[in-house]
Symmetry: C2
């Protein structure tokens, strides 16, 4: 099929305002079939530095209302399309970060706009129900046609929630309840149980560098940056070491296996130790790729062994796919790459799935009403949008597309780190869920800002990493747009 | 202005199917000006018992997917209007519970449907931003025209969040951060602070019978029912006694003042005790009316004294208005009834405000980015709807209406408890935020189910209470519909 983007010149990529910076055109897309050509933009277009004057003014105003220190810039979402985010100063940027990995199929996707404009759906947007007691007629069907079509292996049940943190909080609660019922041998608590809730102490084992959210239960398992936890009371729960691997993984198999074996051994020791302390581990929680903590990978063998250790000690195994889930690794769930028969007891999600929640095994079902509960328990209007996102993923075969695009992206990163070994290292990724390390945090931060001024939005993670989190409609020619901008910045770096 | 509802007959109220049960017509609305006559129904209409066959079938199907034991019935939200919720079996019920107090201006309000159908708003529904880093252009205006117009006295700032639990979790975090920075005398943490997050221990003081949510930080301050907390690890935080008052409040001033003095004294003792334990109280959290815990009221003097005790000991004072906020007490915030100059440091909200969040004092602002943060931090599409809800409240003068309707409701409850002193007691309320106690939990539960079969949806709270949580568009003639149904049930009670 012919593409409208067989040749992408540097001028077209950076926008007129920055065209004078463009020196060469090394990365040229050959195969990109731009199925979203009808609604996506074809290139960045920069008019000011970012943030521009209008963003600066609005940020100042926002400072009168709430903390404004994390604001990057203000956006014109109406004008944003596909892979391109437009800001309030008219700058149009290729978005390789997508609202912290939470825009699945790009901005203003026609299929989603149709969901909103359909008068039959209006009620879902204005009458938010208390889903746990008064669900809408269509909700069973929406779950069946939507979330349940992507249920992880062995997990037949799904609990809808509103966001990533409350999904994890409630997944933890489900594990605590399951663990205690298992211990009791009955789901009927004793009077002593009921009157001494404070005394029942259980724990969740998490990993160094993990990020599972910022509400207090989640925060007790989050260890990516001290500023997230500073001053907030926490639980005395075990923290196991996450393997620190060398990349590319297939060139360091022996050393990496040793590192993983060490981490597994320490994990098992901690489970035993915390049981002896009287705070048994009800669940082990882990990300398939530690995202916020710096895109740390581990092998399929590591996760499968960890899952076995959890089972051996009677702990539930919770895979947190809030950032990894939804297709960016080339599979719908990152844990599918493990090829495990029995990958998890609980899998939590949010972000690209537009609604939060967790899948779980039959035996993790709570025994009584109101144990896993809150007023809203999600938002059916998000399930409407999600069902459409899943349709688009299937119709446009986006998981295969992500795999193809991801190869181009990772290949480009390998080339750059070979060319700039003093600047870049540890290129890694699955699908388009990629990252690369920069020699120093200050250089990393500067490169991200420079890329933005040249029309490409990137995000940082961990101490030294740049993370790539494009939408699932990010194609090879978008990879090339990014690589061209980034390689110029590296060439110019002093 | 003439009303279409000057005379509401019992036949009209209960629906044809139950008309044979209607014996009399004592409560007749005289003054109701039914401004929502154009979209509201005029009466319940019952076709089956509730849940009917279709609801039962769907509930069974839901049981294959998730815990279904709290489901009351399935709803046809498309057909629901104003104060009437329609179920999937075609039953139309007067809704005096409104999705656990979270529907502000009734179902399918034309003003809200207009927001959704306006093509200019479509982008807000399909492009959910990471608000903390990339807010939409209109967000400052939406906050200014929306939430900030109802900012509690002295609280100039507002942090948007997604739901009640995450609003409270983040309000607690804001108080922890504020407290430690105050202790340090600087916002710059020491290296020891940064490396020893686990060791920093602070507490939140809450009250017996309180409900502040179910995520783990909130849950540590929730004490309404053991089943909410069972098996879930918690913090060793102080729990003060909430006054157990006699009603009507104005007939028991002396005894109630004694009870409140006792509770204040114990509260102050606990603050001192926890400081000595090395877990100082960073914040005191309280509901203006304990809702989930059984509609427990306290006097304005109690809250004002409590606020002073908190300030005296350097603790922040957090008023949780998640259930009470949004107008149902006849003021926008229940704490306005205190008449305090300086009511709170933090006020949290959700439910009727459609979005979560908390207002806070300037000095409670966090000092750095990413301390109060998550991916979504709310949802701008909810702010669009909220702005319209606030317009309707103003245009239709709904707070005054709620006050008028509430008087009719509470008056009716007083009459009923005078007539059935062995069945009913402790009628109480502010605006339409009313409750009454039933002699036994089993009788309470039975009355709620019978009322539902007769076309009126009520909710329980605490051990023995029925709580009334109608929308702000609930008028006197709706009160009379409810009273007629309820008084027949009481008359028939054996």
């Amino acid at each position: 099929m012919p593409s409208r983007h067989v040749w992408i010149g540097r001028k077209a990529m950076c926008g007129e305002a920055h065209a004078h910076r463009c020196k060469s055109c090394r990365y040229v897309s050959k195969a990109a079939v731009n199925t979203q050509a009808d609604y996506d933009y074809d290139r960045p277009l920069m008019k000011t530095q970012v943030p521009g004057p209008r963003s600066k003014e609005l940020t100042k105003q926002m400072g009168q209302i709430q903390n404004n220190t994390a604001i990057n810039f203000f956006c014109n979402y109406e004008e944003s399309r596909g892979n391109f985010l437009v800001d309030v100063d008219g700058n149009r940027m290729l978005d390789v970060y997508t609202q912290i990995a939470s825009i699945p199929i790009g901005y203003n996707h026609p299929a989603l706009l149709k969901v909103v404009s359909d008068p039959n759906n209006a009620s879902a947007f204005v009458n938010r129900p208390a889903l746990g007691i008064l669900p809408p007629e269509s909700f069973v069907d929406k779950l069946t046609e939507g979330l349940l079509t992507v249920a992880p292996k062995g997990l037949n049940r799904v609990q809808n929630m509103a966001c990533g943190s409350c999904s994890n909080e409630n997944a933890y609660k489900a594990m605590f309840i399951w663990y205690r019922n298992k211990e009791r041998g009955t789901s009927i608590p004793s009077d002593a149980d009921l009157s001494s809730c404070m005394i029942n102490q259980l724990s969740i084992l998490s990993f160094s560098g993990a990020f599972h959210g910022r509400t207090m239960g989640c925060l007790a398992t989050t260890h990516s940056k001290p500023i997230h936890k500073l001053d907030v009371p926490s639980f005395d729960w075990p923290i196991a070491p996450f393997p620190r691997l060398q990349y590319p993984l297939d060139e360091h198999v022996r050393e990496n296996a040793q590192e993983e074996a060490r981490c597994l051994e320490e994990t098992e020791d901690l489970i035993v130790k915390w049981r002896h302390k009287g705070m048994p581990v009800a669940g082990v929680v882990i990300e398939p790729i530690q995202a916020e903590g710096g895109d740390n990978h581990a092998s399929a063998a590591f996760f499968i062994s960890l899952r076995k250790i959890a089972s051996k000690h009677g702990c539930a195994f919770h895979v947190d796919e809030v950032q990894t889930g939804g297709g960016a690794t080339g599979r719908f769930w990152a844990h599918e790459h493990w090829g495990a028969e029995d990958p998890a007891d609980i899998v939590s999600f949010s972000k690209k799935l537009l609604t939060g929640g967790f899948f779980y095994r039959d035996e993790m079902e709570t025994d009584k009403p109101y144990r896993i509960f809150n007023t809203w328990m999600g938002d059916p209007s998000k399930n409407l949008l999600l069902a459409e996102v899943l349709n688009v993923i299937r119709q446009e075969n986006l998981l295969a597309e992500v795999t193809r695009t991801g190869k181009a992206l990772l290949g480009g990163l390998y080339e750059l780190q070979a060319k700039y070994p003093n600047l870049l290292s540890r290129a890694r990724g699955q699908g388009t869920f990629c990252a690369i390390d920069v020699c120093k945090a200050s250089v990393r931060d500067k490169l991200i800002l420079q890329a933005r001024d040249n029309g490409v939005i990137l995000g940082g993670c961990g101490d030294l990493s740049i993370r790539f989190r494009p939408a699932l409609i990010f194609k090879e020619h978008h990879v090339h747009m990014f690589l061209n901008v980034f390689s110029d910045l590296l060439a110019a770096h002093k």
